[in-house]
């Protein structure tokens, strides 16, 4: 099936901090991967490197068999941690506006996702809670059919209902065998059954990596409890 991501000895430094240190990670295609680690562990840096928004000082990055570039970026849906929707637009306007930018936009998925995420398309973004805005941002990624979906901490600071809806929508629209998802989070809980593979990162390095089920068996614990043990 090949690799969706292959990072070799990647180092990314910011003044005064090593965001990633000699970081190597290979991920098979067609999996849903949980990238777990506390705030400041390097999750966002990793996502930006994959997108090619920033460059590493050292190491090699291969994404979907190429070096991160605008062509490859078209095959990726990236939900950043930033809350970037225009407040004066309605959901409908945002869908129409955003769909113009993507060749893999699936018009037919719009109504399904509006329903799954319980979003009213005639409402203005400015009237929404943070949880609702997160639902809209996730919807914009899921209306496409990218080879890779990157979600940077979509569960952070959102209400439980939004969280459950996002999780449900991810699973229901997931293209089994075709799509890869990397979801960064520091709150696992109910999201646990979503993941095939877990990568624990801390201080820019991998602490532990494995199939979620293998880890559960090995440690006789759920992933949340393994997380607490790894990062204690």
């Amino acid at each position: 099936m090949g690799l969706v991501l292959d990072l070799k000895n990647v180092t990314k430094k910011y003044p005064g901090v090593d965001a990633l240190k000699d970081f190597s990670l290979s991920l098979d295609r067609g999996k849903i991967v949980g990238l777990l680690g506390p705030n400041g562990s390097g999750k966002t840096t990793l996502m930006k490197l994959i997108m090619g928004f920033i460059k590493p000082q050292k190491g090699e990055i291969t994404v979907l068999d190429g070096v991160p570039n605008p062509m490859i970026r078209e095959k990726i849906a990236y939900v950043s941690e930033l809350d970037v929707l225009y407040p004066w637009m309605t959901v409908r306007e945002i869908l129409d506006f955003t769909s113009n930018f993507y060749r893999d936009w699936e018009k037919g998925k719009e109504s399904e996702l509006l329903q799954l995420l319980a979003i009213e398309q005639d409402k203005k973004i400015g009237t929404f809670s943070y949880g609702m805005r997160t639902r809209v941002r996730v919807m914009l990624a899921l209306c496409r059919k990218p080879e890779l979906v990157l979600l940077d901490d979509p569960f952070s600071g959102i209400d439980l209902v939004s969280r459950a809806k996002v999780q449900d929508a991810l699973l229901k629209t997931y293209h089994y065998k075709e799509q890869s998802i990397v979801l960064a989070t520091h709150i696992i809980d109910e999201a646990e059954p979503l993941f095939d593979e877990i990568v624990f990162i801390e201080k820019g390095q991998i602490n532990l990596q494995g199939k979620a089920d293998d880890l559960r068996e090995k440690y006789s614990k759920n992933i949340t409890d393994i997380y607490k043990e790894v990062f204690k």
Binding site: Y176, P193, D213, S220
Partner: protein, 123 residues
């Protein structure tokens, strides 16, 4: 059939395998009947489809499920196989049960009477 998963009870694919085996030996999933696709099952129980695929693959390896190319996955038509599985599950229970009653120091006879009484009451 309801498949409930407990994330704190070990590997999810093993739990799915266990629930499906029970459904088959109980007869809820009938011999030769087509089973839900990996994707539909994954959505139904709220787990990753690769986890369901792993459970199905293992059950195929054990002979409880059979996949037919291009048609989907089916419960085995081998009634003997299902009977064997039922006996295996029963033996596992008996073993666990035997250990538990030994721990509380109750004889098999007394426990059997109690068991019969409870089962009758629940009927």
């Amino acid at each position: 059939m309801e498949i409930k998963i407990d994330i704190s009870s070990g590997a999810i694919y093993l739990q799915i395998m266990d629930r499906i085996k029970r459904a088959i030996v109980r007869g809820d999933w009938k011999t030769g009947e087509q089973v839900m696709s990996v994707r539909d099952m994954a959505i139904k129980i709220g787990v990753n489809p690769n986890t369901v695929a792993r459970a199905y693959a293992e059950l195929e390896r054990e002979g409880m499920l059979v996949s037919k190319r291009g048609m989907g996955t089916f419960v085995t038509e081998d009634a003997k196989k299902i009977e064997e599985e039922k006996e295996k599950l029963a033996a596992q229970y008996a073993e666990r049960f035997g250990k538990e009653i030994k721990e509380i120091g109750i004889s098999v006879n007394v426990m059997t009477k109690l068991l019969n009484k409870i089962v009758k009451e629940n009927e």
